[in-house]
Amino acid sequence: MTTDVNRRRLLLLAPLGLVALGGAAFYAMLERMEQGTFDPHAIGDPRVGKPLPKFDLPGVAPAQGFSSTDVQQAAAQQPVLLNFFASWCIPCVQEAAVLATLSQIGLSVWGIAYEDKASATNQFLNRYGNPYARIADDSHGRTAIDFGVYGVPESFLVDSKGIVRWHMAGPLNDDVVRGPLQNALKSLA
């Protein structure tokens, strides 16, 4: 008889338990949304977690270009932020200041000029500053296709094993740098 009553009490406690679990999960979601480690609106990112696509690009004359192997070798020492940009891209102008700050604080930023003329790229770098440790020229956009680039600007964070660990489609801004990018860098360290 008492077991019956106890079972009944347990059953009637079940809704509260379910709601408590749900509430805890929602709290976790909101917390992590604020920290920037959880974004229910982000679309799946097939590139993250995969190794860098192979490429070997010329430089923007007169500088030398680089290949995926170069990136891997550099990333073995320190994470590399690979940034697709173009002189014709207005958000890239906005982003230039953020990239400059990042390279000043010691992050290794490498640039790939997307579908652009060398002269225009040089003009762009002269006007808005050159935050890039090295620059390659993807004037045909083939490498961008291998990376699955949606549009410029777009950035990929490469870890010591040559694997893309974080990705951002669109310009980097202070919020992104302080939130998701910093979290990604912390997880690499």
Binding site: L12, P15, L16, V19, A20, F26, L30, P40
Partner: protein, 654 residues
Amino acid sequence: MIPELGHFALALACVLAFAQAFVGIWGAHRRDARLIAATPGLAVGQLLALAAAAGCLVYSAVTNDFSVANIAENSAIAKPLLYKITGTWGNHEGSILLWGLILGICGGAVSLFGRNLPSGLRARVLGVLGGTSAGFLLFALTTSDAFARLWPAPPDGAGMNPLLQDPGLAFHPPILYTGYVGFAVPFAFAVAALLEGRIDAAWGRWVRPWALTSWAFLTCGIALGSWWAYYELGWGGYWFWDPVENASLMPWLTGTALVHSAIVVEKRESLKIWTVLLAIGTFSLSLSGTFLVRSGILNSVHAFANDPARGIFILSLLGLVIGGSLLLFALRAPTLASGGIFAPLSREGALVLNNILLCSICAVVIMGTMYPPFADLLLGQKISVGAPFFNATVFPLAIPTFAVMAMGPLLPWKRARLGPVLAHAWWAGLIAVIVAGICAIGMKIVTALAFGVAAWLILGSFAEVVERTLLFRAPVATSFRRARGLPTAVLGAAIAHAGMGVTIAGIAGVSLSQSKIVALAPGGQTQLGPYHFTLLDLRDAPGPNYQARIADIAITRNGVPFDTVHPERRSFPKAQQTTSDVTIETNFLRDLYVVLGEERDGQAVLRFHINPLAPWIWLGALIMAAGGMLSLADRRLRIGAPSRARNAAAALPA
């Protein structure tokens, strides 16, 4: 000055709500007659203060007071007056104020119409409503202030999302929210009953009209939202299983279950604990729906400005309201005595089955809606759950629900036999099978089945009415006399159930829709079904706060001139947004749906749909709500006055 008065009125309402909560619950607990007597006055006071606050916001909107941040962000001088008024609840801050106002109206209604309730129960109900209201008003005051000022005030406002600038949507929030918030009253009754530790038939009788009213409003609200999506978004669809739509469907499903299980409490004093849980669950789902939409957790096309900080506040509030009531439920429900027993095959049995099926559908919808964020949180997987999942899981559960729906009202209470029921309803079943059989020729089997189910529901629902009025078996005059003597509850139930049948027929009809997308230059022609379309002209026309591009299209049917329609594309320069103004030519049996798309090289992309029976989807919902309201009329004499009804019955000659 006026916005400050509004802000003050809001703060006053919040204070009154706290007082109402304390005085009501404490007074009833201490059986203090003075405190108990003070509660209704506080509820009415709260309502007046909230009405004043809402009035101030509307006044500021109408007078273009752009020093109020909320109005500067959402209104503009060029906006038509109607949308200046309705726009006050078209944004987060204003909609929270509307929420509070409707909750206040609920409290006021319980105070004014609940005079027949025992004063202790009424004080507790008002106390619970006051507590809930206090939480929401505090939320409005601290994180979502609709009266916050902006300095310097801009010369003109930013304007409203043009998609929302539509008469259908203007009245959608008040109706939907009345449905959502109305379930606060059954919730308050449930919590009050748990506090009192007593539930009886009278409780079921008091709760039912409130539940039924909210249910009817929620039904209309969902239908209006779906209708808006159909004609305004221009996609030709009416239900997208979008999380926001699901958020309104979930309380509707449990609310429907509640409306039915409360009958069992009223008539048979059974299913009490379950009914209390449903009352708590329905309001909890209403609240959670609001929370999920505003927190940004769900991925939806209908986005409010998302703010996780706000989310934390609402989540705590939800924890307090839902967690508190469920804790009380866990503590007190085991002590509630269960009532009458019944055989599986009986009216009660059918209602239990209805509850199980409706709650299963609700569980499936919750699963499908909540799985993506939970999978993301726990497994780190990005997935989206859409129409294929819901169609595959909801329909198998919906079909038995519909099958039982028409049968249930024919079963007697306590214990039933199948024989007499079949004797009453065989003709409806036969016609349904014939309909399904005819439809099966040249249609998909699911569609044919849906038409059969629709026929079964519409006809079967009236089987009881036919039976009781001896229709077709007695002279028409006798039937008419008997029909007038029929309780309106019986008629209301039959109408509501038939309304569901009409909706199903509409859904089945639209699944047969034909469509065509063509690019036409002026003078171009195209054919779809029996209709021939000629694009006569493409022209520009100015609107009050938009520029319209209009296509004039002549339609002939089998060569006979039929109609000329003018679909538009409107561009709103202020919002930098374009909307399509679909034309729908309807004769209630099918919609001709024409959309004007983008133009390129002198050619306009036009989309034509023929949607058979489309209007029936929303017509059915209206019929359902009307049925609910009709059966409410039956209760009027008996609401809270069981003794009077009994006396009246005794006074009638036997």
